[in-house]
């Protein structure tokens, strides 16, 4: 037998089985309505759960994006300092992180899709439940017992199919969310422990350390250069501060022409 027909028969059989258990038709309607309210709560909770997971993935994506950007600027930094080896290591880390980020992006759109579907399902069920409530009251008020039975069976079976459908949709969304949460949990732990750096590439810390060292040694060099400049500039000033001329020979041979000019200027100023 066909697939679509069989599925519809399975749904119908389950509804019939439930109907057979009911003795009082009014009880059937009230019982079904109560179940519908429970299903509405379930589907709304389902939407909220998926939304929570989606937001969590969004936060993780932001964190990973920051890491990717950091590796990128590390690579640029390393290249500008002539360290292609470090730049390469940083880019390797970046690629690995980018892979994780792409994976998360896929999961994110999957969750977004689930959330949209469940939201629509929830709205559909709400409309159905509202209509069922009206139908339930009409049946109770208007029809004779015999007519009521037929109407009740129709309404019950119709809404049961809807609930079966939505029950499966919720289950599906829950399964997908659970799978995702296990992976998201692992990434959360990595991000929280800072182990992501080590996990992604043991060298990451050493890249930063090397870059810091390079930065530090560059800094030392520039400080040295600055100090040398200051020293040579100060030498003539000391002479000047000591007009006796005793210290004239005091390292003045080493003075650069720039320093001399610099020293001459204040002299001229003093002369005025």
């Amino acid at each position: 037998m066909s697939v679509m027909k069989r599925v519809s028969l399975i749904f119908r059989a389950k509804a019939n089985k439930a109907l057979d258990r009911m003795e009082d038709p009014r009880e059937t309607l009230d019982y079904s309505y109560q179940q519908q309210m429970e299903m509405l709560t379930r589907v709304r909770r389902g939407v909220a759960d998926v939304a929570t997971s989606r937001k969590r993935v969004e936060l993780q994506m932001n964190s990973l994006q920051k890491e990717v950007n950091r590796r990128d600027s590390q690579a640029r930094d390393a290249l500008s300092k002539g360290r292609e080896d470090l730049a390469r290591a940083a880019l390797q880390n970046k690629t690995s992180l980018q892979g994780q980020l792409n994976d998360l992006q896929g999961q994110y759109s999957n969750l977004q899709e689930q959330e949209e579907k469940l939201t629509v399902a929830s709205q559909r069920l709400q409309a159905r439940v509202d209509a069922f409530r009206t139908r339930k009251e009409t049946i109770k008020a208007t029809y004779t017992a015999a007519e009521a039975q037929t109407r009740i069976n129709e309404a019950f079976s119709g809404i049961s199919e809807e609930m079966g459908d939505i029950g499966l949709a919720i289950q599906r969304a829950e399964d997908k969310t659970a799978q995702m949460q296990a992976r998201a949990g692992a990434i959360d732990e990595l991000l929280a422990s800072g182990a992501l750096e080590d996990h992604v590439g043991g060298q990451q810390d050493s890249i930063q350390a090397e870059l810091d060292k390079l930065g530090a040694s560059n800094d030392v060099e520039s400080q040295l250069a600055q100090m040398k400049g200051e020293l040579s500039a100060n030498a003539p000033r000391e002479i000047e501060a000591n007009p006796n001329g005793d210290s004239n020979s005091n390292g003045s041979e080493a003075t650069t022409s720039e320093a001399t000019t610099a020293a001459e200027q204040p002299q001229a100023g003093d002369g005025l």
Partner: protein, 98 residues
């Protein structure tokens, strides 16, 4: 004829559409039996598109059961096999019916 797409609700379709659906249903059944994933996806996709495009949504105050129920549009072949076996999907024990 009334057709339900799981996750999307019920649709009223004309008789000529119902005939096309029956043909696609045969393809779907063969694909499930042969475990042919590509054929399964092609038949399911075509059936879902056909119902969405040519059917009209059944209003919420019409309570009726569907003649045909199509699986979720992105269902896997395993999921459909489980649905046919006991009316549940992977990870769940029942169809959620009372």
């Amino acid at each position: 004829m009334i057709v339900r797409i799981l996750g999307e609700g019920q649709f009223q379709v004309a008789e000529d559409v119902a005939a096309k659906l029956t043909a696609l249903d045969t393809e779907l059944d063969a694909a499930v039996r042969k475990n042919d994933d590509a054929a399964f996806r092609a038949a399911l996709g075509a059936a879902v598109r056909l119902v969405r495009e040519s059917g009209s949504s059944v209003p919420p105050d019409t309570f009726t059961t569907a003649d045909f129920i199509l699986p979720f549009s992105d269902a896997s072949i395993d999921e459909v096999r489980k649905l046919l076996a006991d009316g549940s999907i992977t990870g769940s024990d029942s169809i959620g019916l009372p």
